[in-house]
Structure formats: C-alpha cells, structure tokens
C-alpha cells in the first residue's frame, strides 16, 4: 500500500475516536461498578442480583454506548491498519483514563502511577513512528 498522507490522516482521526471513547466508557463503567459493589460470597443468588443491578444501571449503559462507539472506530481502522500498530497506538487512552479518573471519580493517582502511564505513552510514541501496515492488501 502507498504511504500516502491521506492514509495517515485517516488513521489518526480514527485513533482519536478510539482514545476518547474507550477511556470515557471505562470511567463510566468504573463509576457504575463502584455504585453496585463487588461480590463477597460469589454465590449464584448474589451474582444474579449483581447482574440485575448491572443491567439496570444507567452508568453501565452509558459506558457500553461509549465502548460501542470505540469498537466501531476500532473495527474500521483495522480494515486498513495492522492490529499490532492500532493496539499500541491506542495506549494514549491510558493517560486519558487516569485524568478522567482523577477529575470525575476523585481517584488518587500517585507519582509512580503517573510515571508508569508516561512510560506507556513513550512506548506509544515509538510505535507511532512505524508504518501502519506491514501485510499485503487483501
């Protein structure tokens, strides 16, 4: 495939969708699950009750909607770019999820965690300078 600017621009636009929708979805799921709580005994009745609360939680459905939007963008970008390029390149979402967790959920993010996330982003930077496709077009 030609190394055209259009290919890179299209890829970057879809990666932006991925980077925004995935963290927002996860933060909404986190908010929902913190409200619902975790299982203590893992008995069938308790698991059924938790499942029922999951299915009736607005936060969970909003999170799922965001993740569906992410998934569609992800599927589309995979039709022209390598999986091994798209997956690491979408790692910027880890920075976004930490920021959203801090702002929206009031989570404590310590220095080591920020450092870890920064290192992940460095890895993304390295991966981002490789060509999106290494296999032949089908």
């Amino acid at each position: 495939m030609k190394d055209s600017p259009g290919l890179h621009l299209k890829t970057y636009i879809f990666l932006l969708f991925i980077v925004l929708f995935a963290p927002l979805g996860n933060v909404l799921l986190g908010k929902g699950m913190k409200t619902i709580g975790s299982a203590r005994d893992w008995e069938p009745q308790e698991l059924f009750n938790i499942l029922l609360r999951i299915l009736t939680s607005g936060y969970i459905w909003l999170g799922i909607a965001c993740l569906l939007a992410f998934f569609v963008a992800y599927m589309l970008v995979l039709t022209w770019a390598d999986y091994s390029y798209v997956q690491p390149a979408s790692a910027f979402s880890y920075l976004v999820v930490a920021v959203l967790g801090l702002w929206l959920l009031g989570e404590k993010v310590n220095l080591l965690r920020w450092t870890g996330i920064a290192v992940i982003c460095l890895g993304v930077f390295i991966v981002g300078h490789t060509h999106p496709r290494t296999t032949e077009k089908t």
């Binding site: 995979l78 390598d82 999986y83 091994s84 999820v97 959920l105 965690r113 992940i120």
Partner: protein, 124 residues
C-alpha cells in the same frame, strides 16, 4: 488471587477476541464508503463471519471480567494494567495474523510493558 484471575481473563480473552475480530476485518477488506447504509452493510457482512462471533464471545468474557475488576479497584489502576495485552497482542499478531513486526515496534511494546509494571507497583 481473584484479581489475578480476572486480569488473566481480561488479557487472554480480550486479546483473543481482538485477534478474531481483526482477522475478520482483514477478510472483509478496507472500508472506503462511510455512508451509514454502507457501514450497516459492512456490519452485516461482518456478522456473517464465524470468527467475528468467536471474537465477540471472547470479548464478552473479557468485558465481564473487567466489570468485576472495576468493582474492586480504581479505574486508573485497572485500565493501565490491562495493557499487558500489548505483549500478548504483538505475539498473537505475529503468529496468527502473519503481521511483520519491526524491531522498533517491538521496542515500543516493550516500553509499554515497563510502564504497565510501574503502574502495577504503584498499587502498594
């Protein structure tokens, strides 16, 4: 212990699911028409591929494991550590999708994994 099991399920089932979906997308070919009707047709074509449904099954398992993890830990911890799937994804892409991963891309994946390790250590 439970958290380790859920983490394994998120990474293994999530990566397996994404590889199946990626295989399906490569089979269908590149999307050029982004009109809603064309996209719906594309989704319909994807829904008729068996690998797509296997992938969705794996991803569903990973999703409920993620929910279980999120009920126990903060989202700023859970989501970054699931980046362990990067190593699994790169290996899987090489083995199953025949993608040729350059040294530079491997280096990037390695750095991402170091970052994940730091996030894991930040828990205590």
């Amino acid at each position: 212990m439970l958290e380790s099991i859920f983490l394994f399920l998120i990474v293994a089932a999530g990566t397996g699911g994404e590889l199946c979906v990626s295989h399906t997308m490569k089979t269908l070919g590149e999307v050029h028409d982004f009109r809603p009707s064309a996209l719906l047709q594309f989704v319909w074509r994807a829904a008729r591929v068996g690998w797509m449904w296997i992938g969705i099954g794996f991803m569903t398992l990973a999703f409920f494991s993620l929910l279980a993890m999120l009920s126990m830990e903060n989202v700023s911890f859970v989501v970054p550590i699931t980046a362990l799937s990067y190593a699994a994804g790169a290996i899987g892409a090489t083995l199953f999708l025949r993608e040729k991963i350059s040294r530079q891309r491997w280096l990037g994946v390695l750095v991402v994994c170091i970052g994940v390790t730091l996030v894991w250590l930040s828990r205590h």
